[in-house]
């Protein structure tokens, strides 16, 4: 093995060390992407998620110059024999005003099951300005077969809501908790 070949081998070893390092960094970056995405969404409201804990009423004046239309949409995902309905489909609120909406859960199945309503706000610019003081979405619900339950949502639209947004849609999707009934895949 002459000097040139030895030099080449050292070069190859160095390149491999560096590419492996780059590879490890990219693996770390991939793992970091998940929490980064969550933080990014929390700051920007990008994915329409609202805070999953109760917030306190923000003080300050009610901005009576603006009226925001708040729509409620509900749906049930597969595997949970429940119905979720809102008493009102639309309410008009001033930013800063504390408002109440009522939702009815109903288990139409034959067993006691648990579910959770996951909220999503669109447009996503409005998500972090949608403040909830009380919401059934903070925890899971248990319903006996045939049971009906009425749950309140107390919320407030932050006066900081961007000027261009006049309508917010709050969508609740009911997801089964725990093992899904009937398996996840139908053959």
């Amino acid at each position: 093995m002459n000097a040139q070949q030895r030099e080449r081998q050292q070069g190859v070893a160095r390149t491999i060390r560096r590419t492996l390092l780059a590879l490890v960094l990219m693996v770390g970056f991939t793992i970091a992407l998940v929490p980064l995405y969550d933080v990014f969404c929390e700051v920007t409201g990008l994915n329409g998620k609202t805070s999953d804990t109760a917030q306190v009423v923000a003080g300050g004046d009610v901005d009576t110059s603006r009226k925001i239309e708040v729509q409620f949409v509900t749906r049930t995902s597969a595997g949970l024999p429940w119905r979720l309905a809102s008493e009102t489909h639309t309410i008009w609120v001033h930013p800063g005003e504390v408002a109440l909406a009522r939702f009815t859960f109903m288990n139409t199945g034959l067993e006691k099951t648990s579910g959770r309503a996951v909220p999503s706000v669109s447009p996503s610019e409005g998500a972090r300005h949608f403040r909830k003081m009380e919401c059934f979405c903070f925890q899971e619900q248990w319903l006996e077969a045939g049971e009906r339950m009425e749950m309140p949502l107390v919320f407030q639209i932050d006066p900081q809501l961007p000027q261009g947004v006049n309508k917010l849609t709050l969508a609740y999707t009911l997801y089964p908790q725990g093992p899904v009934l009937g398996g996840t895949y139908e053959h």
């Binding site: 390149t15 590879l23 990219m26 793992i31």
Partner: protein, 555 residues
């Protein structure tokens, strides 16, 4: 295509393995016994044999994936459920995509890299010959697992090649974990191949060959290899999260448990967009080698080609969300991704104009590789332009998930990447096999392919603009004519690829005109100094390279 086994002097073997950096090579002389038959191929560490294996594997996968495409086209020949059940149809669209992307196009390019990079830079072999063998043999294992899912209960993957969660997790078939394993193996194979290619290019160039003296195929592969290192871990991460969601109750992509399905799309396309450039950059390198040869001019704008390739690679990391304009991105994000996507047309345009400038006032002749390359330039540009249309966020809402998208990406992948691979095969077959490919068969193959490919994919632009969604087994009656044309074209294209197999078989059997070392009159590059067919071991002593005389960037 398969090189003859020449006598192997021990001295040469020893030099070639050590020069290639094989510190693991046993100097004790195990080279005396050469395995024969199947073991030879299983144990080979020779870059030419491994390159051949890669390409034959890609050809096999091309036909398996192509058969699946023809099942899809047969079902879509007429409206109504005519040929297969929808569940099987979904598996066919999914497996066709996965096999063509990961099993055909990528291995074909890696095979070309194995064969060509060492002979183009004057190296005796790849830097890590044993790793090279391992990288290849992971692939048959991976795709055997992937294909075996078709026979499992619940069937194979049926959620599209993009395997969006939760369709692939909560609602996926039970075989999804096998699909994930297969993707992991293919990904590891790609990563190891990329490390090997980078180590070879950066360290084993013949003395005096600077980076800016390398042939463009080597340059494009160097950049592609860096893309692979950067994004394959992201793919591995995504499918690992899927595996955890499916089997271990996590909720990365499950909204019920606090996860976010849109996160999947962000992660997938952060991998997926660079991935589509992984499938086209080496094609640019191939065309940049062939066009100057048959225009009998040096490549116009060598340095700008290198910088354009690097720019495309860098831009590919900041455009991923143009695949998901409809998920509800904020306006600023839509604008950013729209403009950054359109920006890619600039370096791509630089490339196309450089090829045209190379042709300008050249002494052009139309040999088979040149025909495929010229067809590549024209048809890839069509695919590129429909890409610019798709980049426009407001109109993408109409095009999204329609056949217009199918037309777009097939134009860049079939008459784009596949034609470049075919051009490369016709161009370097004399070097690989020692005989020229049969011209009559090759011409028939070329013209039938061009007609077939355009008949298949051009009508899809119209059915897509008219609103036909992709990935459906049945469609509204107004799309019937376009679909019938597409199906006829698909079968024409598919069947004409058998001519290519005939060409390959003739070359392997050495039936045809013998090729000299300089197989094409205007060809430049170190590989043409080697005899045709190239012996198994080449450039044991680095060849002479004088940049002023040999560099493609010389003035």
């Amino acid at each position: 295509m398969v090189p003859e086994l020449p006598p192997r002097p021990d001295k040469h073997q020893a030099i070639s393995d050590t020069a290639a950096g094989g510190s693991a090579v046993d100097q004790g002389g195990h080279h005396h016994e050469q395995p024969t038959g199947l073991l030879r191929w299983l144990l080979t560490t020779n870059h030419k044999e491994i390159g051949t294996l890669y390409m034959l594997f890609a050809l096999l996968m091309f036909f398996i994936g192509g058969t699946m495409a023809l099942i899809v086209r047969a079902e879509l020949f007429q409206p109504g459920m005519t040929f297969v059940v929808p569940e099987f149809f979904n598996q066919m669209t999914t497996m066709h995509g996965l096999i063509m992307v990961f099993g055909a196009i990528m291995p074909a390019f890696v095979g070309l890299a194995n064969w060509l990079i060492p002979v183009q830079i004057g190296a005796p072999d790849m830097a890590l010959p044993r790793l090279n063998n391992f990288s290849f043999w992971l692939l048959p294992v991976s795709f055997t697992i992937l294909l075996s899912t078709l026979f499992m209960e619940g069937g194979g993957p049926n959620f599209g090649w993009t395997f969006y969660a939760p369709l692939s997790t909560t609602y996926g078939p039970p075989s999804t974990s096998f699909f994930i394993l297969a993707m992991h193996l293919a990904g590891i194979s790609s990563i190891l191949g990329a490390i090997n290619i980078i180590a070879t290019i950066l360290n084993l160039r013949t003395p005096n060959m600077r980076l800016m003296d390398m042939p463009l195929f080597v340059w494009t592969w160097l950049i592609t290899a860096f893309l692979l290192i950067a994004v394959m871990p992201v793919l591995a991460g995504v499918i690992t999260m899927m595996l955890l969601d499916i089997n271990f109750g996590t909720s990365f992509f499950d909204a019920a448990g606090g996860g976010d399905p849109v996160l999947f799309q962000h992660l997938f396309w952060f991998f997926g967009h660079p991935e589509v450039y992984i499938m086209i950059l080496p094609a640019f390198g191939i065309v940049s080698a062939i066009v100057p040869t048959f225009a009998r001019k040096r490549l116009f704008g060598y340095a700008s080609m290198v910088y354009a390739t690097a720019s495309i690679a860098l831009l590919s990391f900041v455009v991923w969300a143009h695949h998901m304009f409809t998920v509800g991105l904020p306006l600023t994000a839509q604008l950013f991704f729209m403009y950054s996507t359109m920006l890619i047309a600039v370096p791509t345009g630089v490339k196309v104009f450089n090829w045209i400038a190379t042709l300008f006032r050249g002494s052009i002749s139309f040999e088979l590789p040149m025909l495929f390359s010229l067809a590549f330039i024209v048809q890839f540009t069509i695919g590129g332009l429909s890409g610019v249309m798709l980049a426009i966020a407001p109109v993408d809402f109409q095009y999204h998930d329609t056949y217009f998208v199918v037309a777009h990406f097939h134009y860049v992948l079939v008459p784009g990447a596949v034609f470049a691979i075919l051009a490369a095969a016709y161009y370097w077959l004399p070097k690989w096999s020692g005989v020229y490919p049969n011209v009559k068969l090759g011409l028939a193959h070329f013209w039938l392919s061009v007609i077939g490919v355009n008949l298949t994919f051009f009508p899809m632009h119209f059915s897509g603009l008219a609103g036909m969604p992709r990935r459906i087994p049945d469609y509204a009656l107004q799309f019937a004519d376009f679909n019938m044309l597409s199906s006829i074209g698909g079968f024409l294209f598919g069947i004409s690829q058998l001519l290519f197999v005939a060409v390959i078989v003739l070359c392997i059997r050495k039936k045809g005109e013998k090729a000299p070392a300089q197989a094409w009159e205007g060809a430049e590059g170190l590989e043409w100094q080697l005899p045709s067919p190239a012996p198994l071991h080449t450039f044991d002593t680095p060849p002479e390279f004088i940049p002023e005389r040999d560099s493609p960037s010389r003035h």
